[in-house]
């Protein structure tokens, strides 16, 4: 296991008639982030290298304030890059775009819109050539997938936090991004709701296999969801500290994961890193 990059068998592949030279979906090279302060530059990230393959679910854990969110928002294009580069399928990231869907920590739904309108806002933007009905069907399909049947026309501010985040998940998947970025999406929820939403997320993900990068503070969540858990060192000058492959079979159930012999080995590995 290398400390800097994830080693994968890298092969060319073809999708929708376009051939790509490698299986690397997301490539972060020598990434650097500097915030200027009155006392001089504050280097949040430095020499950060990470490759994420197609159809991989990667969770990122690290101490609070180490720069996980900074890294994710740089991938999303919402935060400028100070050095190095980020590319998606070989194309450098130059700003935000719907090819990188984001699920924010707060659900960030427009409270004046209904659940359906919130999802449609993205769908209409990304599929301008589809007919009205097709777009509506897409939005409804994903809302159905997250278990929001019967609440399509409820205003977002009438929904509970957990319900809102379900809509947030539907909105992110509905625009069919190449990469899904999740910034502690379940951090604000109680543990029961969190478990429900993890199940929903993994169920949709099993179907869509969208490359996903998710920040979390929860070691169990990190293991349950991920193919790989990326551990970041503490800042400043944070970088990738370690990468742990989670080799459970998919589809997974919570029960099978908890009962697996390797579970506590993985868990110990992560906790040892965090307490180190």
């Amino acid at each position: 296991m290398s400390t800097d990059t994830i080693q994968n068998t890298d092969t060319a592949f073809t999708e929708n008639g376009i051939s790509y030279p490698s299986k690397v979906m997301l490539d972060l090279k020598d990434l650097k982030k500097v915030y200027p302060t009155p006392k001089g530059d504050y280097v949040v990230l430095e020499n950060l290298n990470l490759q994420i393959m197609r159809e991989e679910f990667v969770t990122i854990i690290g101490h609070s304030g180490c720069g996980k969110t900074t890294m994710l928002s740089m991938i999303a294009g919402l935060n400028p890059i100070s050095g190095g580069n980020i590319s998606v399928l070989g194309n450098p990231v130059k700003g935000p775009g719907p090819d990188r869907g984001v699920i924010f920590q707060a659900p960030s739904l427009m409270p004046w819109m209904t659940a359906l309108e919130n999802v449609s806002l993205g769908v209409n933007q990304v599929f301008p050539h589809a007919t009205k009905k097709e777009r509506l069907d897409i939005a409804k399909y994903y809302l159905h997938k997250v278990g929001m049947d019967g609440s399509f026309n409820k205003k977002a501010n009438e929904l509970s936090q957990g319900m809102q985040q379900r809509v947030g998940i539907a909105r992110a998947f509905a625009i069919k991004p190449k990469v899904l970025l999740l910034d502690e999406p379940f951090g604000m929820l109680d543990s029961l709701t969190r478990g429900e939403l993890q199940d929903i997320l993994i169920e949709i993900w099993n179907k869509e296999k969208i490359t996903a990068v998710m920040i979390t503070h929860d070691v169990d969540e990190a293991i349950f969801l991920a193919d790989k858990v990326v551990m970041m060192t503490s800042g400043p000058r944070a970088k990738i500290g370690d990468v742990l492959s989670i080799d459970f079979e998919r589809p997974r159930t919570r029960k099978s994961v908890l009962e697996h012999d390797d579970y506590y080995k993985y868990r110990k590995h992560l906790i040892d890193f965090l307490e180190h």
Partner: protein
């Protein structure tokens, strides 16, 4: 059932939710807590109104006695015992020629209110008769291309209220049309904000009187060829300019302070400028825009009185001023009537704004 649902909605919308409880009083769906709440929300205001009227009555009486004693003492000093006695008798008899002129009692104000309504009925009847009489002649005049003859008698109290309302609405509309779009542009662009900031900071605190004078200078010259009465134009423009600042500042602030998460969503989805403004920024700043509009409407109604007075525009402001100048026996009572009318209309305007706000905005605001 459906009817009561709508009733609830309407009362909630105008911030008078307690009507629901009163409705429940008759339909027998009452809990113990609700009884308490009804008592608090109905009996307490009624009791405080009665207390207010009582205090007012006692105060008015004390002032009346003081003024009467002073008058009698003065008569005694200037004109002798006989005149003073005669005055005492005259005051006691309630004759209007010698009543002390001071704060009117609630009963006098109520009497004046009724006499103003009666006066309105007389004037309306007069107007209707005039219209009937001149109908045939006006039809002929219009055929000949001449202006029709219009009623030029004095306006009634109700006419003056209507005139004031028209002025306020025209002024409010002007404020809305200027301040909301300008506020949006200022909120969106830091450059425009720097360009306009000095302007807002300097003109915001300017008094209504000065605004009136400024508008008067400009409109007088613009309308120099027109023979029509420009007092309405001048007063509504002044009202609009005085009152628009709250909306301008609140709109700019609302637009500039849209939740960063919403902006990020718009960025990720790559919404165009038009969509970003109309689907994200405007809806999100509506609560603040409405807060501004509510302040604007109440300021408009407040400065209206002063401006109508200056502009000689025949509304409530001019009514108050003329009654004060008039100094007739019931003038003071009429001024107090106008005060209540102004207050109640101001209150209703505020509630109407609240209802509109709650029907279009995603944040429900309660009345204070």
């Amino acid at each position: 059932m459906k009817q009561s649902v709508t009733l609830n909605k309407v009362t909630q919308l105008i911030g008078m939710g307690f009507f629901k409880n009163i409705a429940n009083l008759f339909t027998g769906k009452l809990e113990k807590d609700e009884v308490k709440s009804i008592l608090r929300k109905t009996l307490v205001p009624i009791a405080s109104i009665l207390l207010f009227i009582g205090l007012w009555h006692a105060g008015a009486k004390a002032l009346y006695n003081k003024e009467a004693e002073f008058k009698i003492a003065k008569a005694l000093e200037d004109q002798g015992q006989a005149e003073a006695d005669a005055l005492k008798v005259c005051i006691a008899s309630g004759d209007s020629s010698c009543q002390p002129n001071t704060l009117p009692s609630p009963i006098q104000v109520w009497g004046s209110f009724k006499s103003l309504l009666k006066d309105h009925n007389i004037i309306s009847a007069d107007k209707a008769a005039f219209k009937e009489k001149t109908a045939a002649m006006n039809a002929k005049r219009i055929e000949q291309g001449k202006d029709p003859i219009t009623y030029t008698g004095r306006p009634s109290f109700v006419d003056q209220i209507v005139r004031s309302l028209k002025t306020v609405f025209a002024g409010f509309l002007l404020a809305l049309l200027i301040a909301v779009p300008l506020g949006i542009f200022i909120g969106l662009s830091p450059t425009l904000k720097s360009a306009f900031n000095w302007f807002i900071q300097i003109f915001k605190p300017v008094s209504p009187v000065v605004w009136y004078l400024l508008v008067f200078m400009i409109v007088k010259t613009i309308l120099i060829d027109s023979s029509e009465d420009s007092s309405f134009t001048i007063s509504f423009i002044s009202v609009g300019l005085c009152s628009m600042w709250a909306t301008l500042v609140n709109t700019a602030m609302g637009v500039a302070s849209v939740d960063k998460d919403y902006i990020n969503v718009a960025k990720v989805l790559k919404l165009g400028t038009f969509q970003k403004v109309f689907k994200v920024i405007l809806p999100s700043s509506l609560p603040l825009i409405f807060t501004g509009l509510k302040i604007t409407l109440s300021v408009a109604w407040m400065v209206l009185i002063a401006i109508e007075l200056l502009a000689q525009s025949p509304g409530l402001g001019l009514f108050v001023w003329e009654e004060f100048q008039n100094g007739a026996n019931d003038s003071n009572a009429k001024i107090i009537v106008a005060m209540f009318v102004i207050g109640i209309i101001g209150f209703l305007l505020d509630r109407i704004m609240l209802a509109i706000q709650n029907s279009v905005s995603f944040v429900k605001t309660d009345a204070i």
